[in-house]
Amino acid sequence: MSTPVAVAEPAANPAGPRRAGRLTGFMPLIALVALVLALAIADSDFLTTRSLTAALRTAAPLIVLAAGATLVVLCGGIDLSIAALASLSTVLLALWLPDLGGLATPVVILAATAIGAVQGVAHVLLRIPSFIVTLGGMSILSAVALVVSGAGTVRVVDDTPVKWLELYVGGYVPMSAAVAIIVVAVIAVVLKVTPLQSWVSATGYSESAARLAGTPVDLVKIAAFCVSGACAGLAAVMLVSRQYSGGPTMADNLLLPAVAAIVVGGTAITGGHGSVWRSLAGALVVTLLRVGLPIVGVPSAYEQILYGVIIVVCVALTLDWSKVSIIK
């Protein structure tokens, strides 16, 4: 259908897209710097260490969630279940901490990875679109979280096993933010030094071509869902260490910010184009908007509206229009 267009485009416009692409590549960083400047001007207290570390601590779970889901988006899918999975993981962690102690954290992350893997396998084997699998998964996981927690908050009495996330590296940088950045770095490095990077982007850019070229497309997709699940589990550990409790809906309001972070970072929702570093920048932008709105005197109800607008506009900007002839 669209083949002639796709072939003609690069020849017709060789310089334009690349320059535009380079510009959108720096957009998240430009937005980040602009936001920090704007906030520093609006509120002179903003550039103190106390408010900066507070912002970083708020950002940490979001960074981890967004980084994990970015891999799924890079493969051309989407994971809508991350927030529900994180909520379920907070409940599980709070329930298991008394029995398992320090082991609870890796066990919860493993459990979340397994749930992610199940969704990935369902998506790949049954050939169901990823957003339906994860939408159904979101519903199922929320139900499980409600049932195992009895629809109430599970308090953590002895939080020593997750206390380490509350420490500060070098006295300034919160441990949770440091862990989040390490996670992003590890994902990025692993992608870079292994063939995974090209496999992931090949899957995202053109799945059928990647399949013909011998890329293990199915395994790559399942692995992406595993990483996404593991990141949701880790985000849950961070939330529990901050709130001293687990709740069946605790992380649910992180879904929109996480999706917004991914698309603000400039990762194309059609797959292939983007990186976890972009999502890191996107998560910081979203967090700054979140903490910044009350500072400039905008009621926090506008936050939701803003997420909605950001998602729609950024998806439209980063979309690879040549690839999709029919949008459902």
């Binding site: 929320s142 509206i305 002839s325 949008i327």
Partner: protein, 298 residues
């Protein structure tokens, strides 16, 4: 099966309950069916319903302000829903944002607008007519149920006898063919989303009538339940199949299932889990015949 397990389930009163409980879901599902027929998806109902619930509760007689617009207020709420639907549709055809993303965004916008109107004080409605809709009965069923029946009828007429309904089918079946045969597809897509939005708006009004107050969370869970009901009714998520009447049957099935599970002693918290399983299983069952052909699934 549930009739055998629980004596309460067999009663006539329970049948009435199921019908009354199904009313709102039926209206929402009616709207979402048109979107699904096109092969798109709509996750915006929760937000749109929240916004329209707040709108209607602030426009009819209430404890927050002196408005007493009655039916006009309801019409405004439905129109607001229509406008939100239009927004999703425009984002889809003009900005080319995939529908699940566009409607996710619009849902967030709707919730934000609802929160703004909520402003910390819950608007309780005092309008006798709107309150009466949920309580007064006609032939054993509440007015809301009759409204839902009317909606299904209207939906069926639109689907069957208007260009909009026929094209919605055709878009889901083979959009390229339709576009190549000279039909301007885009306005129809926007119109379908606007129509669905109007149904959600009415759904929000009906929830407000049931609760007696406008709540931001009025549409919580309806988005997914409606997709479940439509899929159970036989509407394919790939588009081109199904219809309003199918979905109405699906709504009844889902309501009987959730009601029956509660009656036999399953925790109501499992409801969402059951719905999730149903959707995944139903979609999987629908695509398995084409598994070999469809190698690429996003």
């Amino acid at each position: 099966m549930f009739a055998a397990l629980s004596p309460q389930f067999r009663s006539l009163g329970n049948a009435q309950n199921i019908m009354d409980a199904a009313a709102v879901l039926a209206v929402v599902t009616c709207g979402i069916t048109f979107v699904l027929m096109m092969g798109s998806i709509d996750l915006s109902s929760a937000g749109v319903m929240g916004a329209s619930a707040l709108t209607v509760s602030l426009l009819v007689a209430n404890n927050r302000n002196d408005n007493d617009l009655g039916l006009l207020g309801i019409a405004v709420a439905v129109l607001l829903g229509c406008a939100f639907g239009c927004l999703s549709g425009l984002a889809l055809v003009l900005l080319k944002v995939p529908s699940f993303m566009a409607t996710l965004g619009v849902s967030a916008i709707g919730l934000g607008v609802a929160t703004l109107m909520f402003a910390g004080v819950q608007p309780n409605i005092t309008d006798a007519m709107l309150k009466g809709w949920a309580i007064d009965r006609f032939l054993g069923l509440s007015y809301l149920t009759w409204i839902a029946v009317a909606c299904i009828l209207v939906g069926w007429l639109i689907q069957r006898y208007t260009r909009l309904g026929r094209y919605a089918y055709a878009i889901g079946g083979a959009e390229e063919v339709l576009a190549l045969s000279g039909v301007k597809v885009k306005p129809y897509k926007v119109a379908v989303f606007a129509l669905a939005g109007a149904f959600y708006g009415l759904g929000g009004v009906m929830v407000t009538s049931q609760l007696g107050a406008g709540l931001v969370q009025a549409g919580n869970g309806y988005d997914f339940s409606a997709i479940t009901a439509a899929v159970v009714g036989g509407t394919l998520l790939t588009g081109g199949r199904g219809g309003v009447l199918h979905s109405a049957v699906g709504v009844l099935l889902v309501m009987v299932l959730t009601n029956g599970l509660v009656q036999v002693g399953v925790s109501p918290y499992w409801q969402g889990g059951v719905e999730g399983l149903i959707v995944v299983a139903a979609v999987a069952a629908a695509v398995i015949p084409q598994r070999r052909r469809n190698q690429v699934v996003k």
